[in-house]
Symmetry: C2
Subunit: 165 residues, 2 copies
């Protein structure tokens, strides 16, 4: 298994990130982005537009996961940040998502954010919900049928929130 480090993503990391993101977007059980999303749109969305993008990389140089961090709202709401995390299928069970989430909370504080919000945590994605709860996030509310799951159809989505400072 071996350990891994989390560092800011570089443009050269994009192919590795896309190889991780594309199957997840295509699967349609966790992120809203279309399964046939254009790679350049995905690159803008994940790597370029957010305030920060990070990768988890193992000792052999392989990218195991990636996350972005950005303000969740403009101006008077920009003290609350938003993150999205994806772990490579082959790296599941190694604590990558958990480590990325803990890392993102530290980074958010260092960048001046005081809270973190997830806007659309798919309720049927029970592993993710449980992990975020374990890491201190609270379900603020549940949006009825707000996510069109590729297999299950319309499912509820949670808004989750954690005050960091």
């Amino acid at each position: 298994m071996g350990g891994f480090v989390i560092r800011q993503a570089q443009p050269a990391d994009w192919p590795s990130c896309w190889a991780i993101l594309q199957p997840v977007f295509e699967k349609g059980d966790s992120y809203p982005y279309r399964g046939d999303m254009d790679e350049m749109d995905a690159r803008r969305l994940w790597l370029e537009s957010p305030l920060r993008c990070y990768v988890a990389q193992d000792n052999g140089g392989e990218v195991l996961g990636t996350y972005y961090l950005k303000p969740n709202q403009a101006g008077r709401g920009d003290h609350v940040c938003n993150c999205g995390y994806v772990t490579a299928q082959a790296a599941r069970g190694r604590g990558v998502a958990s480590a990325m989430c803990r890392h993102s909370q530290q980074e958010a504080l260092a960048l001046g954010f005081s809270a973190m919000q997830f806007n659309l945590v798919v309720a049927s994605n029970t592993g993710a919900v449980a992990l975020w709860q374990k890491l201190g996030f609270e379900i603020i509310g549940t949006l009825p049928g707000a996510f069109r799951h590729d297999e299950l159809g319309p499912v509820d989505a949670h808004i989750m929130f954690k005050t960091l400072a």
Copy 2:
């Protein structure tokens, strides 16, 4: 008083819209956008980027209010729309906000949306909260201190949601 109609905004409506929006953004008690927001950024945000933008106009041609309508999320979440409404200070009390919200629900259905979500309804803006509740929106959850009110400091913000179809 007299009646008013609600119609899609045209580029020529922008100066009237900006004259309504700018004081509201500056006041800092309802929308997160910075008080010193650049006019071109505001035009892009309110008039150009959303799927639709509308104005309420009285019989004399004066713009009394404006609202935008757009998907609240990408792809698998794009059946839920989001709107923002602002009424001109001088037109308060004439039912403009209420009429715009009812209009937006009809438009949303016609455009294929099945629900509407407000992401940051400032809890201290009790008039707005009560109006949306009267019009069928439910408080899904409350984000602690998610809005930095210019006078009150950090205040809670509600997420409100209505299933349309």
